[in-house]
């Protein structure tokens, strides 16, 4: 098994249960971990020395009330399946990542964020209850009302509290079936935060794109994208477009790392020119709005078999200037081919090991290799210095020391896990590496 970023490769026993009794058939003390779609950049769904249980057969919708928008589904249900059912009835998941084959269980375990975290929060906000299986506790129902219970431990708990069987989710009304996306120029990276704040309250989609391969004054220039539903826009009745498979196997087909020091500047420059040439506003269909990554397999394939790093971080607003200066200085000295630099605005607070908090979220992609590893280590240091939060599920090499230093509740999460499950039978490469 290979992590999505290509950083962790392991051979391990894999089970593919498709009946409930098979979930309970393992000896109670057998270490295990549950795998969903396999789109965690880090090895959250395998490793840990036990068995891996592929949960994708448990992908059924158990109930849906088109009046209230309350949906109950098994945790292996893919986001695309919920979209296909709910969108024609005028509902959607207001918090979801951009690839339709990601599972609901994965969204809960990683407490993912969506198009505008500042306004909509993380996935936990749409979860009303979770049904969880753990050999020690049996099958238990966890409600969202208990701030100190296993629900809090499970949402963003990296799958370490047990096998998420099903969840009840509160969908939101679709304000329209098409989205108008407006583009604004960002001249300097330092302008990003005030521009995001200006748009954050109203936007249904809000993010920025920056070029980090430009030098001097142009460093970090880019665009802000503000997407809003077009009220009462007509639904496109054509079936959703096909989804292109993205994983380490599809990347391996290309073999070579084509996004590298020589090509990334051209790649970013071409993207910038293309964007600047497009009209300032354009409309997009609902599927493309919700799942922008569905057909962008080429971007990931260009990293080749070796893979890439994604470093996603939240920094407080008052430290953003320091972050921008430090990045500019480092990248001026080292020619790291940053293929993606994108910001979102975040609101909230960090608890346990959830990737949440108030400030600016910056994601950086760069090819895997020696310079990339050094850059990631530099970012680790920067996070410790600025008291930022690095995203655990986006980085297959994030060291324990960095997580312990950056997450104020690291020790509390570790302790709570041990109280809940002294034998710690749900283990993954991530939990072992971070000593959780």
């Amino acid at each position: 098994m290979v992590s999505f970023d290509g950083g962790t490769r392991l051979r391990q026993g894999l089970l593919r249960p498709d009946r409930y009794r098979e979930l309970e058939a393992l000896p109670a003390d057998q270490p295990r971990i549950v795998k969903g779609g396999g789109y965690s950049y880090a090895a959250a769904g395998f490793g840990g020395g036990g068995l891996v249980q592929d949960a994708r057969a448990f992908n059924r919708i158990l109930a849906f009330d088109p009046e209230s928008g309350l949906l109950e589904c098994e945790a292996g249900t893919q986001l695309g399946k919920i979209f296909e059912l709910a969108a024609p009835l005028g509902w959607f998941l207001p918090v979801q990542p951009g690839y339709p084959r990601i599972t609901v269980g994965g969204c809960i375990a990683a407490d993912v964020h969506g198009k505008n975290q500042f306004r909509d929060g993380t996935f936990r906000r749409v979860v009303r209850s979770v049904r969880l299986y753990h050999p020690r506790h049996g099958t238990i129902l966890l409600g969202c009302g208990d701030p100190d219970g296993a629900f809090e431990l499970t949402c963003g708990g990296l799958g370490l509290t047990g096998h998420i069987l099903s969840a009840r989710l509160q969908l939101a009304r679709l304000a329209g079936s098409r989205v108008r996306v407006a583009r604004r120029r960002i001249d300097r990276f330092e302008d990003t935060l005030p521009m995001l704040l200006e748009h954050a309250g109203q936007a249904d989609l809000l993010y920025t794109w920056h070029t980090f391969t430009a030098r001097g004054e142009g460093f970090g220039r880019g665009f802000l994208y503000d997407g809003r539903f077009i009220p009462d826009s007509r639904r496109d009745d054509s079936s959703p477009p096909s989804v292109v498979s993205i994983d380490a196997r599809t990347r391996r087909r290309l073999g070579l790392q084509l996004l590298n020091r020589a090509t990334t500047g051209i790649f970013n420059g071409a993207y910038e020119v293309w964007q600047a040439a497009r009209p300032q506003e354009h409309e997009t269909d609902l599927f493309s709005f919700l799942f922008p990554v569905a057909r962008k397999v080429l971007y990931f394939a260009l990293f080749g078999r070796r893979g890439f790093h994604e470093y996603q971080m939240i920094v407080r607003g008052d430290t953003f200037g320091d972050l921008a200066r430090a990045l500019k200085a480092y990248l001026a000295r080292h020619r790291i081919p940053v293929t993606l630099a994108s910001c979102k605005l975040f609101a909230g607070s960090t608890r346990y090991v959830r990737f949440d908090g108030a400030g600016l979220c910056l994601a950086l992609d760069f090819p895997r290799g020696e310079p990339g590893t050094r850059f990631a280590a530099f970012l680790d240091g920067l996070m410790c210095e600025l008291r930022g939060i690095p995203n655990i599920v986006k980085d297959s090499r994030l060291p324990r020391e960095v997580v312990a230093a950056c997450y104020p509740d690291y020790a509390a999460f570790r302790e709570a896990l041990r109280v809940y499950d002294p034998a710690r039978i749900y283990r993954s490469e991530v939990s072992e590496r971070l000593d959780l």
Binding site: R19, Y20, R21, R60, I61, A63, L85
Partner: protein, 243 residues
């Protein structure tokens, strides 16, 4: 008009249920575990709005299964019965304990014969109906790896041939599919000579010819050629093969 699927909770049975619900057919799903059936029935009802009922009953007690299913559908017209039910055991090398031998024969053969003993009179009275059984390429030639399983599946093939002979002029459609490797829990993790077929693809083929697929067929189709070759292999050579 109800379609019965025995062994509906996973693999080919689940794929058949999904395909038939998509076609708007009213279903009665039968399998061992209520949790699996309840989840599947809900999913099909939510997605397709079709009438989906289920009966949780282990096929290892064939008489009880037949009686309960018959009672559940008393007075209803039954359009057809499909039997994608089956089980295998590790160590089926002629030395299984008797309880497991009984289970293999019950689930793979006796349960189907018992259910049909209840429903054949219903279908004959209707003078219409479809019965579809599913065998295995493991039963083409007896082999040391699946001793009881392949015997039960071969008995099933013979049973369906008899059923077809019996009902030839009664307006029923009796079909038997010999299945090659399928990408189900039974095959997962095994070293296979050929790639396993997705259950959804096989289910689509079965559903395309629900009413006119009389006789015995192989799925995927190329298994018909392989089966013929395998049958033609002389014993002196066959006994040397390890597969």
């Amino acid at each position: 008009m109800t379609w019965v699927i025995v062994g509906a909770s996973a693999g080919l049975g689940r794929a058949l249920a999904e395909h038939m619900a998509r076609d708007g057919r009213s279903l009665m799903l039968v399998a061992r575990d209520e949790r699996d059936l309840s989840s599947l029935a809900s999913d099909l009802a939510v997605h397709h709005g079709t009438r989906v009922r289920f009966l949780a009953q282990d096929a290892d007690v064939p008489g009880v299964l037949a009686d309960r299913l018959h009672q559940s559908l008393a007075g209803e017209e039954v359009e057809g019965l499909l039997f994608p039910v089956g089980t295998i055991h590790d160590g089926d090398d002629g030395r299984l304990d008797p309880a497991r031998v009984h289970q293999l024969i019950n689930v793979n053969f006796t349960a189907i014969a018992c259910v049909m003993s209840r429903f054949l009179p219903v279908l004959l009275a209707q003078r219409r109906g479809v019965v579809i059984g599913f065998g295995s390429i493991a039963a083409i030639r007896g082999r040391g790896r699946n001793v009881v399983y392949s015997a039960a599946k071969r008995a099933l093939e013979s049973y369906f041939e008899s059923l077809r002979h019996l009902t030839e002029r009664e307006g029923l459609t009796i079909a038997f599919y010999v299945l090659g490797y399928l990408d189900t829990g039974l095959a997962f993790g095994q070293r296979l000579l050929l790639p396993p077929a997705p259950p959804a693809v096989v289910a689509a083929r079965v559903c395309r010819r629900l009413h006119d697929a009389r006789g015995t067929h192989h799925l995927p189709r190329y298994w018909a050629v392989l089966a013929a070759v395998l049958r033609a292999v002389p014993w002196w050579l066959f006994k040397r093969l390890r597969f």
